[in-house]
Subunit: 221 residues, 2 copies
């Protein structure tokens, strides 16, 4: 469903070019559960941005369902991201002026053009363990792990077929981590594709395939 | 060196009061290495803010070296924080307009009144595994784990006797985590006091004492 062909990402910096990704070849089949592991700074988040079409490669080609992203219009890419991809960011990326509830509701408003008149937003937040009271907190008024869980709920808002999770349990205790991994496992069992960056071997065990990246290159498959 | 007597922290919210800390009694001896563990949202970061005098309790008393913080002037508290405490934040709290180098140098400028004309800033960043090139990146241009390491280096800038670390290895792979725990262990062996929040049992093993917090209350000592 996603193919990366000879993809490189270079950041030109005063001290010298940073090769965040170096001629990467990588593909993900529909319905797979893949874990990506590797040292800090090795290129995992950069790879996730390529897979999720949040960034463009310096060279090489990315194909979504067989179609090259360079042949897609901006509108097509935006629609693809909004309709099919759920992205859980390493730094959560919540909107600080909105409450947890409004943050999760936001993708629904983007898709349907009006506020959520169902219980979906509330159900998603309940599923990640937030109380009705906590849903009214802004991110600043929530703990680190609560913010992480809100970003997980938000990624699931539009029922994505493709889940990209960048260290989804980094700020959670083991009991809560297991609950989140159960949710991801269920979603995968329903036929969705899951790609997860993790540095926790216990979390990686939930995946069917583990890919290791080092210095911007995939070192095993 | 730090005593909390019957400390409570209450956030009044529209949905009802949030009791982040509930009548907490807790003390830390000079030179101890204490780990604080507990579920997401249980009050760990709030407790750290109390210990580090970054926030005031709603009720109860905090004593630093026998002296109550309510009897200290703002200047005294600021000096205490700057001279003796190194704080590694759960969310890093780096200054986005400054480079990694400038972020670590900043506490040195606050203390000495001029830029660092020694190799201290560079040595600290080298110690946490950053290259000379990476030191010139702003936080946005660094990976999650690199940002976490910069915040660790910054906490050590003024050679603190009291280290407060809120999940210092949450974004790091196991090899890098071990390196950071070695650094904290060395600092402790030199006589410093270390208080560390972690949800990783492997990291907690480096401590001499583990304190568990649940729903704003300490449930063991
Ligand atoms: N400014 C605030 N206003 C209202 N409630 C708050 C505020 N800050 C924190 N809280 C609440 O206080 C409780 C404790 O928060 P705290 O950040 O100390 O938890 P924590 O143990 O560090 O959690 P985590 O492991 O997820 O980081 C949480 O339920 C949180 O929602
Ligand atoms: N905007 C940027 N400009 C310059 N260099 C960058 C930029 N973004 C990332 N980098 C560099 O690219 C490399 C890969 O970064 P990336 O965020 O993908 O790493 P990562 O594997 O996710 O690391 P971590 O496990 O620490 O999150 C790092 O060395 C980083 O410093
Ligand atoms: Mg990353
Ligand atoms: Mg916390």
């Amino acid at each position: 469903v996603v193919e990366l062909h000879d993809v490189s990402k270079i950041y030109p910096m005063p001290a010298g070019d940073v090769h965040a990704l170096n001629h990467v070849n990588f593909s993900i089949q529909k319905g797979e559960f893949v874990a990506i592991m590797g040292p800090s700074g090795s290129g995992k988040s950069t790879l996730m941005n390529m897979i999720g079409c949040l960034d463009v490669p310096t060279s090489g080609e990315i194909k979504i369902n067989g179609k090259s992203t360079s042949e897609m219009t901006d509108d097509e890419l935006t629609l693809h991201r909004r309709e099919t991809i759920g992205f859980i960011f390493q730094k959560f990326n919540l909107i600080s002026l909105l409450t947890a509830y409004e943050n999760v509701e936001y993708p629904l408003i983007l898709k349907h053009g009006h506020k959520d008149d169902t219980t979906r937003t509330r159900d998603l937040l309940r599923m990640v363990g937030l109380t009705d009271g906590q849903m009214q907190h802004t991110p600043y008024e929530l703990s680190g792990g609560q913010q992480q869980r809100v970003s997980i709920a938000r990624a699931l808002a539009n029922d994505p077929t493709f889940l990209l999770c960048d260290e989804p349990t980094g700020n959670l205790d083991s009991k809560m981590s297991m609950q989140i991994m159960e949710i991801l496992t269920d979603l995968h069992a329903q036929g969705r594709t899951v790609v997860m960056v993790t540095h926790d071997p216990k979390t990686a065990e939930y995946a069917e395939r583990i890919v290791i990246i080092k210095d911007g290159e995939i070192v095993n498959e």
